[in-house]
Symmetry: C2
Subunit: 246 residues, 2 copies
């Protein structure tokens, strides 16, 4: 996927010096360290703590993201049933998608982590990368309003979903997407092919390079069997269900 990075960076730059932007990238680990140092230095009590990490902005950003994404889906796919809309939205706002986008547009470089979290490679963690996508969206909303947020999402999430609309029903692509994000490789293998009552039947097995899963599916074509196998893995791994249970 090719993003219009120049336009995106311009939007990021436009609020870079603002207070909400600063807060949007302040991880609790950094804040805790800072507060501890200040207390030791000045023997002040904890009431002088800096108050907010990015978490409250993330709370707000999550709902902003959900709102504009729902609106986008509602207008773009007016004939979808409610269940299809929900699934598509889930795919668009799930952790791995937001983390991918965060990486692509370089939000991680603004992140402020504590020493421990930095050593822990916190800036590469999917959960943190997804968090700051949400907190950044909130900062952008508070500084520039809804229209600018829609423009930003248009350049990121709504670009990302282009051509993937049908992926919701395509388990192989879903699994592919997931494994790519986790630097994992998928292997499909024909296990058996047989004839049952004049019909050809294929049994395909899917497994991965890291050895996390191995499932098989059957179908009247190899592709059908692969889809069934992939669907089983997706259910077992609970992919895409993250958002639902948040």
């Amino acid at each position: 996927m090719v993003y219009q990075l120049k336009k995106i960076k311009k939007i990021i730059e436009s609020i870079k010096d603002n207070e909400y932007f600063h807060q949007a990238f302040l991880h609790t680990s950094y804040l805790n360290e800072l507060n501890l140092r200040r207390r030791v230095d000045s023997e002040q009590n904890s009431e002088n703590n800096l108050q907010h990490s990015y978490e409250t902005l993330e709370f707000l950003g999550d709902s902003i993201l959900n709102f504009y994404t729902s609106l986008f889906i509602y207008h773009k796919f007016p004939n979808y049933a409610e269940g299809q809309m929900s699934k598509l939205k889930q795919l668009m706002v799930q952790e791995s998608t937001l983390a991918h986008l965060s990486k692509e547009i370089g939000l991680g470089e603004f992140l402020q982590l504590g020493t421990g979290e930095r050593k822990n490679r916190g800036a590469e963690k999917e959960s943190i990368l997804a968090d700051i996508f949400e907190s950044f969206v909130a900062a952008l909303y508070l500084e520039k309003g809804g229209k600018m947020v829609y423009r930003f999402l248009n350049l990121t999430i709504f670009t990302w979903i282009e051509g993937k609309e049908n992926m919701v029903w395509d388990y192989k692509s879903q699994l592919q997407e997931y494994c790519q994000a986790h630097k994992n490789k998928i292997v499909y293998q024909l296990k058996r092919s047989l004839r049952v009552e004049h019909q050809q039947l294929f049994i395909m097995e899917v497994s991965d390079g890291l050895g996390t899963f191995r499932e098989s599916g059957k179908g009247r074509s190899k592709k059908e069997a692969e889809q069934q196998a992939a669907a089983k893995v997706i259910r077992k791994l609970g992919i895409g269900e993250e958002e639902k249970n948040k």
Copy 2:
């Protein structure tokens, strides 16, 4: 709670003749019946079905509601931690709250149900009443825009939460609210009072008129013991968790 019903009805009336309003109250059961009748009458195929019940509007309305509620909380309680904001929001957008509001402002009277669902007293079901609050919000958004939605929510949910902000941490009040909504009665009873190492200890039991729950809690005061008992019930019944797991 006293709502400004005149103002609310005026907002409802303002979009009453619009297409989205009509759709917002169209239950699938009604639509199915209608489609069936049309097919029998004209022997047309199912492609001529009327297409949409309120479900897609409900999908959109849910995210609109979450967005404006989050925004309200973020601005009104800027010093809340993220967890407090989330809990408060949950309370505000949970099914029983929306159903209560739907009833108070009379949204049920616009509902179009199929014969079976009507006999089943569908118009009194909490789930359906909550649904149409959401679908109405979406219709209002699409017809009149965000400012009008905020005004409507100000007159309903944001009015409802006034004075209840601390209820999130008060399990007794939460349980009270829940039981009132379900026409159920709560009884607290002292089970034991004892002295442990110079300290008074109370064991209180909470149960309900319908016989759904019976839990006990202990504490250094009766109130503390009651809170603990109520918290246990809330966890067991999963109250307030509904929205999370949607």
